[in-house]
Subunit: 344 residues, 2 copies
DNA sequence: AGGTCGGTTGGAACCGCTTCCACATGCTCT
DNA sequence: AGAGCATGTGGAAGCGGTTCCAACCGACCT
């Protein structure tokens, strides 16, 4: 018969072996001052001998904190989300907190993820990435006193890390206008679902503003919307490039979409940047590979700053906790090889 | 003064309000049979009225299970790891388990991640991605009876999901040989660190085998090693392409490295595929964008299959639990536009 | 010598759940 | 009628920590 491995040692095993009370062991574990060096040594010896490791479940219950930070993120939808999570993970890695990841592709998962956390005993804090919590959820989160930071999403109830999307759109369009383009198309996200917020919409506004201030009329047939996928964007771009008077430049609201535009150009035999300029948004890694000119937003930093802010909140920094603290990260155009002067 | 929100309701609050004992509430919560319909209704009413949600910390402690699955992964090092995690997340999403993510960039983090889990009370199971646990850790994991599945890494102690790297290397080289190439270089990973396993080494073996069976001599100056980054690979490729007799094809052990080779070719003004063929490995999303010919391995599936296997183990399927159960996923060459016949 | 006082220490109570055991109830079966 | 038996139910014990309180100790005071 197989001998079961011994159950993991508990704090009272340690206490028994060291010949002290459980309280003393706990004090040693938590580095409290009032323990005589000799006693401490005996306890440490026992801990070592029994290979004792405290139970985190028991600690959570007793302390009413979990040492876990929940991250809710539409993980699948975009490579940029991954980059943000990387920023978060790197900060949490050097903290005492662990990272619980919730992907929320579908709507009911989103619901589920929120419900999971809003009791407040699963995690000590929450990072919501590219996601706006619905109002009833906001209430529950606040009732549970769960510190919460939004990354890439605004909400008056929570501090957030965002970028200036309007300005991003403006910069992209201005870059193209500066090169001499006048016929500039825009491919944005499809109208936002209730949970997403309208970052693409803001980029559209920036685009329109830049055009306006250059005295260029916005042509409705040049402004299109579709999902983030590059396949959809490719289809839209093919449409656009078959227009009787086709645009000489396309600004896409994400790199994924911009890559779709590049594919479309390749399919139609249109040379980039000689015959068509393309600008993306995000500056994901692929953009560098493919030489895509794009509007860089600090994805990694959005995650790391969000995590840092949350950690500060958890340490009771009420200053940033309170109202609508908003940190705005800079955007900039990264010029690579998909933009140039218009043909002719 | 601000009124604190009431503490979350506990099971005994519910019991009190429903006028029953805590045991009965627990039975209702867990859908046990022996509860009179009338009683059940009263309890449900109380639960609803108090917006009661059970404490998962308390449940974990009492049940000795956490409903969490730990995923340990070198998250930052490669886009392929992300794809595997996606596969894992999608399977766990439709299970009762939550996903705790541990990134392990540096060696001490790796240590940390393992220690965290090996007591067995943080998670009910573990998925190790592209990581081979050191022997002492294997012991602890087994002692803690923590079900554990390896994804993209072999170890006799645990079931695993892998691919046939030798065959992958062979297929890549055979594809190039089939096109008529004779001067085929190979860029692999640098010698594995103790935690990684030698997948690149196996790919080298496949490459050598294919060459051998075509009667082509392996030239040492054509076989190079470097880290996974495309920058490093680019440097190596530039070296390679400046050789007096330069290769007409390069097989890289990862797509990231293959992209570095493409960059090198661009820098040197060497046309692909007319003057140089390039084959990668993995088939990450970028490969499709850039038209890279590559050896596809099912990244997403490796994650999803690993997660499914682990779930089966957790349900007590001893069959797959036991010995060195190994699931081998297929590899195949995906021909795109970076390979063609050799020049001349 | 007796009283204070600060530093150590043991252990009970508690965190919120599950589970088991004892007990009550209303039947059926001799 | 009394034993036997499901069926429902209450509540104590236990999961493994933390924390608080009381007790103990020797040193130091008067």
């Amino acid at each position: 018969m197989e001998s079961l491995p011994p159950a993991p040692a508990t704090i009272s095993d340690v206490a028994a072996r060291a010949g002290v009370g459980v309280g003393t062991v706990s004090r040693v574990l938590n580095g409290r001052a009032n323990v005589r060096p000799l006693t401490r040594a005996r306890v440490l010896e026992a801990i070592d001998a029994l290979a004792y490791r405290p139970s985190s479940a028991a600690r959570s219950l007793s302390l009413r904190r979990t040492h876990v930070i929940g991250v809710v993120v539409p993980f699948f939808t975009s490579p940029s989300a991954v980059e943000r999570v990387r920023g978060i993970a790197s900060v949490l890695a050097r903290s005492q907190y662990d990272l619980m990841l919730f992907d929320v592709e579908s709507e009911d998962r989103r619901e589920h993820a929120f419900r999971l956390f809003d009791r407040g005993d699963r995690s000590d804090g929450l990072l919501l990435v590219s996601l706006v919590p619905p109002d009833d959820e906001v209430e529950r989160l606040q009732a549970a006193r769960l510190p919460c930071v939004l990354v890439d999403a605004p909400h008056p109830a929570f501090p957030s890390i965002v970028i200036d999307d309007v300005r991003g759109g403006e910069l992209a369009a201005a870059h193209l206008i500066g090169l001499g383009h006048r016929r500039i198309a825009f491919i944005g996200d499809k109208p936002p679902d209730p949970f997403r917020f309208a970052s693409s919409r803001d980029r559209t506004r920036g685009y329109e503003r830049a055009l306006a201030s250059a005295g260029i009329e916005v042509r409705p047939e040049y402004v299109r919307e579709g999902t983030q996928s590059h396949q959809v964007a490719r289809g839209i771009a093919i449409d656009l490039l078959r227009l009787p008077q086709r645009p000489t430049a396309v600004f896409a609201a994400s790199d994924a979409q911009a890559l779709g535009v590049l594919e479309a150009a390749r399919i139609l035999g249109i040379r980039v940047p000689e015959e068509l300029s393309v600008v993306g948004f995000d500056d994901v890694e692929v953009a560098a590979y493919t030489g895509l000119t794009t509007v860089r937003q600090p994805l990694y930093e959005s995650g790391s700053h969000g995590a840092e802010l949350l950690l500060r909140l958890l340490e009771g920094d009420a200053a940033s906790s309170g109202g609508p603290y908003v940190e705005q990260l800079p955007v900039e155009v990264v010029v690579r090889s998909t933009t140039g002067p218009p043909p002719g």
